[in-house]
Symmetry: C2
Subunit: 159 residues, 2 copies
């Protein structure tokens, strides 16, 4: 179960990184006020998102052997402790990048009147759709990581 | 140790909520393009921040008795499991609000050229300073919560 959830989290994290990393839209027309291209590296937050999600995906791949060891030897505390501590750290990292990207995506969709930031999704529809799905995938990874930490804690408690 | 860290996290979370909740600045002059008032409820993300940080602070206060029970009875797994699972959930909540508020504060400081969002901190200096310190306080709470989860895991593993 731990192993399968971990595989799911790997898929979600890498999908999020890849979707965000390939987001790029050039507009076919000219307007007076807007630039003509939007890509993930226009936004520092989205760059952070791609790097963090790739890191989380890489960590989860490397954690698979430890998960196997924890399943084979359910009474050894070492591998479980190792997994729960690193899972918590990477959960925090994944949550931080997912939430900050979500804040930017929300702004892109709705804008903000008081600071005079206009919504850009009318212009950059495809870009917005792609970054939104990356954010959704990253939240799937976050939920799976929370489940992994809770399951590891329960397994440690039962011992 | 668990108890003292928890008290620190309570202070950090409530300070973050209070600092953000009282952020409000009205400009003494008129300009053509900008509104004249900025407060935390101009931004959905900051509203979310105040609510979540208050929730996290409230949970941490309620968790203090369980922390005492876990210290008095170090061999009982129940209270420790209860604490580690809820700590993980509230850690995720706190990280999400801290990171999304940080993304908005970063935009307020630096703006974003490609989407034509201008930095507003030149106009709203006090507002920016206050929201920035709220974000710093919330990250202190996040770090303390990570430490609490790791310490609970180690205590569970030692049993």
């Amino acid at each position: 179960m731990d192993f399968i959830l971990r595989l799911g989290a790997v898929a979600a994290a890498l999908a999020a990184a890849a979707t965000m990393g390939t987001s790029d839209q050039t507009l076919p027309f000219f307007t007076q006020f807007f630039q003509f291209e939007a890509s993930y590296d226009s936004f520092t937050t989205f760059q952070f998102f791609v790097i963090t999600m790739a890191l989380v995906g890489g960590y989860l791949v490397l954690s698979l052997p430890f998960s196997v060891v924890a399943i084979i030897r359910p009474h050894a505390a070492g591998p479980r402790l190792f997994l729960i501590i690193l899972d918590t750290v990477f959960l925090t990292l994944a949550t931080a990048s997912a939430a900050s990207a979500a804040a930017i995506v929300y702004l892109a969709h709705n804008g903000n009147q008081d600071s005079n930031w206009l919504a850009i999704c009318n212009q950059f529809g495809d870009f917005c759709a792609q970054t939104s799905s990356a954010v959704v995938a990253s939240f799937v990874a976050v939920v799976v990581l929370v489940l992994l930490v809770v399951m590891s804690a329960l397994a440690l408690g039962k011992r």
